[in-house]
Symmetry: D2
Subunit: 261 residues, 4 copies
C-alpha cells in the first residue's frame, strides 16, 4: 500500500529571495517531496499556491492520503473556500502535516480553533529538538534529540489547544523553548504540527528533519475509507430508533426534514 | 466578586412558534438569565441576535466574564466578524458556554475546528444524564444522574475534538448515547458544551439543568486580567534574547518588523 | 510482519461454573486466541494464572508484542512482582488490552493510577456500543454501533483518568451508560480498555467483538524496538552536557553516582 | 473559606547535609509552609517521614484539602500502606502537589501509572521556566517566564502520561528541556507536578516559586464534599435499575452480593 502524499508550498520566497532560491532551486515543496519519495511506501507529489485552485481541487484532495503544508508570506492569498475544503478533507480522514510558519495558515487556524500565535526571532541560532514521547512512531530513528545549527526561534506560549501528545520540545540558544511536535485529531483526520523549516536555512536538507517528516506521513495516514459527507447531521426517524419509542410533545420539524444549520 | 454573565439568544422561535412562546414568554435567554440571577455571585444580562451588533460590541465582550450562547434557526444570520470577535474574547480569557443546538453556531464551530455534527430525533423521549467525572465542579449537587422526561435526541458520533474532560454522558430512551457535557480550553478561555435545551420542551425550567448552568458559569470564569491582544505574535529582537547570542545567516525581516500573517 | 500476541486468562470460572464451561469449553483465553488467529498478521498464544509465573516470564513478555488480559475472580492471586513486570513491559513498548472485569486487575489499576471502580448489574440486558470516534482504527468494520443482546451492565462513573480517545460508549437497557472503549499511552506502550465480556454470556463468540479485539491488537502494536530499561534515570555528567557549562554550587552526588529512588 | 494545606517533607538531608541545613534551618517543609501561610485563605501545616504514620493518619488526610510532597533520599522508607492511603485521599477529592524529586515518590508513581523517570545533572546551572498556558491560574503573577540561577537539571523524556495541561516548560543552560509544570486529575483529586526544588539551592526562598506553589494550592483545592468510599463498586439490583428490565440468562452472583476484586 502506497501513501499518496501531496506537498503544498506557497512558492513565493523561492521566487523572490536569493538565499531561498539558492537553497531550494526547485522550491521547498519539491525538496520535501523529493526526500519523501526516497521512502518505500510513500509517493509524494507537489502543488503550489499559483496552481489553479491552488492545486487543491476536490478530486485531488479525495485522492490524497496525507497533505503537507508550508506557507509564510502569502497566507492571506489562500482562498477561504479552498481552506475550508482542505479542512473538510481532514475531517473525512485525510492526514495533514503543518510545517513551521504554517502555524498561521488558514487551514491550521481553522482546525485548531485558536490564535496559533507565538514569539519569534530570526537570528540563525541553534535549535535542539528533544523527544518527549519515548518511542513515538513520529520520532523513530532520530535518537533522544537532534540539533539544527541555524534556525529561526519560535517561543512559548504557542496559542494552540492541548495536543493529544507532545512529541518534541525545542531548546533555543537564545533562551526560549517551544513545543515543536504536536499531534491532534480532527474528525477522522490525524494532524501533526512540526516546527522547524525557516526558508533561509537548509532545514529540509537535514536528514533528521526528513526522517521525522516521513515518519509523520506514515503516522498521519488513516487507511479507513474516507467519510463521504463529514459534515452531515442526519435525522433518525422515530420509527427507525434502535429502541421502540412513541413520539411525544411538540416538534419543530416535519419527518425527514433537514435540521437547521 | 461578581461574575458578569451574558446570555445570548437568537430569539427566533420564541417569536414564531406558539409552543416555544408559551414555555418562554420572555425568551429562552431571559429564562436562563433569570435562573442564573438567583445565584449569589452571578449577575446575568441578556443580548439577542436582533440587537445592534447582536448585542456583542467589543466593549460589552470586554465587560463579560462568561458568555452563554443559544441559537438554532438563525446560525447563518450571525455576522462572521462578530463570531470572530467572540472567539477572540474567548482566547483573551472570557469563559463561554454553548447550549444544545449551539453546536452548529459559528463561534462553536470556529473554536472546535471540526464539523460539530451529530444525529438527532425530535420525539420528546426521555434523556438521562450521567455524571462521568465524580465531584467535578460543573456537576456539583445533581447526584450521580438526573432525568429530563422530554428531550430531543442527539446521537454519536459527535464531531468534536477530544475534550479536556467528559463530565456528562446521556442515555436516550430510543437507544442512543451522547457525550453531553464537555470541557475545553481555547487560549485563556474555558469552554463548556452542555447538550440539553430543545426549545419545545421546558428544559431551562428544570432545577438540575439550571444548577449545571450556574456551576458551569463559575467553572468557566477565569479571574485573570484579560490578555490585551490575544493574537499578537511579537518579535524578540536579538539583543533582547534571554541569553546572549550573535545573529548568523540570512534573514527575511528587518529588526522590529512585523511577521507575515 | 506478524504481531506476536498473548491472551492471558485467569481460567477459574471455566473450571468451576457450568455455564461458563459450556460456553467456552477450552477456556475464554483459547476462544479469544482462536478468533485472533483467523486474522492475517496476528499470531496469538495463551497463558493462564495457573502456569508457572502465570505464564508471564520476562522472556515471554519480551517476545510479546501485545498482551490481552481477562480476569475476574482471582485478581488477588496474581503476584505483585509479576503485575509490576507486566507494567514494565508496557512502559518498554508492549501493547496491552484489558477486557471487561480486568478493570480491577492489578496491572490495570497500576497503569491507570486510579480506583478503576464502576457500578454493575448482572441481568443479561441489552448493550449497544456506539462508536464515538468516527473511523478510529479500533472501530473499523463494525458500523456506527453494534448490539449484544445479553451482557452485564457496567455504569458510570468509571474511575479512570481521561483517556487519549473515547472510542465506544455503551447504552444499557436498564438505563445506564458507560465509556466502553478507551485508549491510553503508558510509557512507550499503547493501552486499550474494552468493556464487554461477562463470562456467562457468549460475548467472545460475537463477530463484532472479535473484530474490535483484532483491530485493537493492530492498533496497540508499537513496532519500535523495546526500550531496554524503561525505568532508568541516567545522570548526564557535566562534561557531557549538550552545551558547555561549568559546575557551580553544592551537590549531593559524586560524578557518575546513581540517583536516589 | 480557608484551604487546609499540609506540607510533607522527608526531612533527611536537612539533618545530614550542611548546605541543606544552612539553607533550610527548620526544614524544607517548614520553609514551604511558612511561605504558604503568608497567603490569605491558606493555612499550612507540616508533617515529616519520622512522625508516627509519617504524620499521615486517615484523620489527618480527611482534614487536609491539599497535600504537598517533597522527598528524595528516603522514598523507600515510606510505608506502602500509607502511600496507598494518600492515593485514596486524592481519589476522594484531596488536591496534591508533587515537588521536584517527588517524581520518584511512591504516591506519584502510583498515581501516574508510569515509570516517572528522567535524566538529571547536578551542576547549579541556570533554569528558565516558560509559561506555556497563557493566563493559567497556576502561573498567575509570574510573567511570561522566570529564572532560577542555580538548579539541578531534569531532562526529557519525562516518563509520565500526557497531562491535562502543560503549564511550564523549562530551558536549561546545559542544553536540555523539561515539562516542569503538569496538571492531572485522578478520581476527584487535582494533581500538579512542579519541577524546581533541589535541596542544595535556595529555590524555595524564590518569590516566583513561592507564588506558583500558592497558586497551585488554590487550583488543586476541590471544595466538593469528599467521596466517602472512593473505591466502592456498588451493585445495582435489577429492581432498582433506572429503566424497568427483567433478568435474563445465567449469573454468577446472588442479589446484593459483593463483586470480585
Amino acid at each position: 500500500m502506497t501513501i499518496r502524499t501531496l506537498v503544498w508550498g506557497e512558492n513565493v520566497h523561492e521566487q523572490t529571495n536569493k538565499t531561498v532560491a539558492e537553497l531550494y532551486p526547485s522550491g521547498m515543496h519539491a525538496a520535501i517531496a523529493d526526500s519523501l519519495n526516497r521512502n518505500d511506501g510513500i509517493k509524494a507529489d507537489t502543488a503550489v499556491l499559483q496552481d489553479p485552485e491552488h492545486g487543491l481541487t476536490a478530486e485531488r484532495l479525495a485522492a490524497t492520503d496525507v497533505l503537507l503544508w508550508w506557507g509564510h508570506a502569502a497566507h492571506g492569498e489562500v482562498s477561504d473556500a479552498i481552506a475550508e475544503r482542505v479542512c473538510e478533507a481532514v475531517w473525512s480522514g485525510m492526514g495533514m502535516i503543518f510545517l513551521h510558519s504554517a502555524h498561521f495558515s488558514k487551514p491550521f487556524k481553522r482546525l485548531m480553533g485558536t490564535a496559533c500565535n507565538l514569539t519569534w526571532r530570526e537570528a540563525g541560532e541553534r535549535e535542539r529538538l528533544w523527544v518527549t514521547s519515548a518511542n513515538h512512531p513520529i520520532a523513530e530513528g532520530v535518537g533522544p534529540m537532534f540539533e539544527l545549527e541555524n534556525e529561526e526561534m519560535y517561543g512559548e506560549p504557542f496559542g494552540v489547544p492541548e495536543p493529544l501528545e507532545t512529541v518534541f520540545v525545542s531548546w533555543f540558544q537564545g533562551g526560549e523553548v517551544f513545543r515543536s511536535g504536536l499531534t491532534y485529531k480532527r474528525g477522522a483526520g490525524n494532524v501533526f504540527y512540526f516546527r522547524p523549516g525557516h526558508e533561509t536555512y537548509p532545514t529540509y536538507h537535514d536528514a533528521n528533519v526528513q526522517r521525522v517528516i516521513a515518519n509523520a506521513v506514515r503516522w498521519a495516514h488513516n487507511p479507513a475509507r474516507r467519510i463521504a459527507d463529514p459534515t452531515a447531521a442526519p435525522n433518525v426517524p422515530v420509527d427507525e430508533a434502535p429502541e421502540k419509542i412513541t413520539e411525544r410533545g411538540a416538534r419543530l420539524h416535519n419527518p425527514g426534514e433537514d435540521g437547521f444549520r
